[in-house]
């Protein structure tokens, strides 16, 4: 067990490789109850969400989810979040465990400064969150719910009962695989967890820890806030221009992000692969003629692709696909190559 965002969590159950492969080929079960939930409701909820987050929340229908970020006036990350539109004037943010208090305070302060009729509640203690991920996830979850799962599209959600427990069922995840995240009341979480493990038995479902969660998300080249980006990294630098609603009106950090998009960008996050037998881990320097010019933000040997991969923040002139990067690994310089993202795309996904 390790301490993570104030929670004791297992790094692994049966082993990172075994858990990782279970998710890629069958199914894995994750207890991600540590994630936080902050709800915003009221007549001005949408206007406040639009001001606080960089993506265009006006595009969301009720029942739809969007990847976005809480941004500072400098266009950097307070946190990366999922925005759920629960009802006409009701939004729910799913935020990173370690940032719950910080995000809540930020949202309250910024909403107050902006003005508007909106109630903001840290609802994290009301939700446990269980993720079932993998190509068999739908088949397994469907045995426990009457909700029409095939009708729930990627990044949409529905409500229903799972193992007779009222739940919000969201077709989202952090693995690059198809799957669902199920919000349930904490008191019933164990029952839902056990039911899913039991229902998944014929598919050899594996409970998965933080270790596999990290290797899976990195293989899908999904960012980890706090590791790949933080309050010093802008959304554009993080390679997440696609989560910026360029057409919407003003929002926190819009000016900086627009300038960077127009070309005022000095560094960016890139994906790399190492052909040598070595792993470049978080914090290892990227060097050019013996000078440190960048830094590795995530790196691992991925169990499914069996490659040494990672993300690094580098000067833009080192950012093009095919560029050779020199990474210092415990005193020796290892050669890496900038590669297109994502490293892994699930079969059948456009």
């Amino acid at each position: 067990m390790v301490e993570f965002g104030g929670w004791d969590m297992p790094v692994e159950y049966s082993g990172i490789t075994e858990e990782h492969l279970a998710v890629r080929t069958r199914a894995g079960l994750f207890d991600v109850s540590h994630m936080g939930q902050i709800e915003l409701a009221g007549p001005d909820a949408l206007a406040v969400v639009q001001w606080l987050t960089c993506n265009d929340a006006a595009k969301l229908s009720i029942g739809q989810v969007q990847y976005s970020a809480l941004t500072t006036p400098e266009g950097t990350f307070v946190d990366d979040i999922l925005v759920y539109r629960m009802a006409q004037d009701h939004y729910l943010f799913v935020v990173n465990a370690g940032n719950i208090m910080k995000d809540h305070e930020w949202i309250v302060a910024q909403a107050r400064a902006r003005g508007g009729d909106v109630a903001i509640v840290n609802a994290s203690s009301r939700y446990a969150l269980i993720a079932i991920q993998g190509p068999r996830a739908q088949e397994i979850l469907q045995t426990l719910t009457a909700a029409d799962l095939p009708a729930v599209k990627y990044y949409w959600f529905t409500t229903g009962e799972v193992a007779s427990v009222r739940a919000t069922i969201s077709r989202t995840g952090y693995t690059g695989e198809d799957g669902f995240e199920v919000f349930v009341p904490p008191a019933q979480a164990e029952r839902v967890w056990d039911a899913l493990l039991h229902a998944g038995k014929p598919h050899d479902i594996k409970p998965c820890g933080l270790g596999a969660r990290d290797t899976l998300r990195l293989e899908a080249s999904m960012r980890l806030c706090g590791s790949d980006m933080d309050e010093h990294t802008t959304v554009v630098e993080a390679g997440l221009s696609w989560i910026v609603g360029w057409k919407k009106e003003n929002f926190l950090g819009a000016d900086v992000l627009r300038r960077q998009k127009a070309g005022e960008l000095s560094r960016k996050l890139v994906a790399f692969e190492i052909r040598d037998r070595a792993i470049a881990r978080h914090g290892y320097p990227v060097v050019r003629s013996e000078e440190t010019v960048g830094v590795v933000t995530s790196g691992t040997q991925t169990p499914f692709l069996k490659k040494s991969i990672g993300l690094a923040m580098v000067p833009v002139d080192l950012g093009a696909t095919g560029t050779a990067l020199d990474i210092q690994i415990r005193g020796r310089v290892v050669s890496a190559e900038v590669v297109p993202e994502p490293f892994y795309k699930r079969p059948g996904k456009a």
């Binding site: 790094v11 082993g15 990172i16 490789t17 290797t215 070595a278 881990r281 040997q301």
Partner: protein, 123 residues
């Protein structure tokens, strides 16, 4: 669990004496702490090690760790199979040797832990 014919260190290496020479690997406890091993970096044959010297690194999906020489001596061989099958360290930790040494000061051998002392250490 921990074979009685092996000697152990507090750094979780094992040593198996074999006449004039000895093989060295990491214990089951160590491999469980590391998780899935992906690379093992080993020294050149002929290198002279002092007791406690780093003789290589072992890298798992989640961490990298150094390997320490249980006793002083010259490296006479490294296990060629670990390059292509590093996972043997997880599946057969007490057989997947890393280096073969010719110990230079036999007195050091008697300072190593026996199986019961090591078992108590990791309990």
């Amino acid at each position: 669990m921990y074979p009685s014919e092996l000697k152990y260190t507090k750094d979780h290496e094992w040593l198996k004496s074999d006449g004039e020479e000895a093989t060295v690997g990491i214990t089951d406890f160590a491999q469980r702490q590391l998780g899935d091993v992906v690379f093992v970096e080993l020294p050149e044959v002929g290198r002279q090690l002092k007791q406690g010297d780093t003789f290589g690194t072992i890298e798992s999906v989640k961490a990298v760790s150094e390997l320490f020489a249980p006793v002083s001596g010259e490296v006479v061989a490294v296990n060629p199979d670990l390059g292509s099958h590093p996972e043997a360290v997880n599946s057969r930790p007490h057989e997947a040797w890393m280096i073969r040494l010719r110990p230079s000061s036999p007195a050091e051998l008697s300072g190593l832990l026996d199986a019961s002392a090591y078992t108590a250490l990791v309990k």
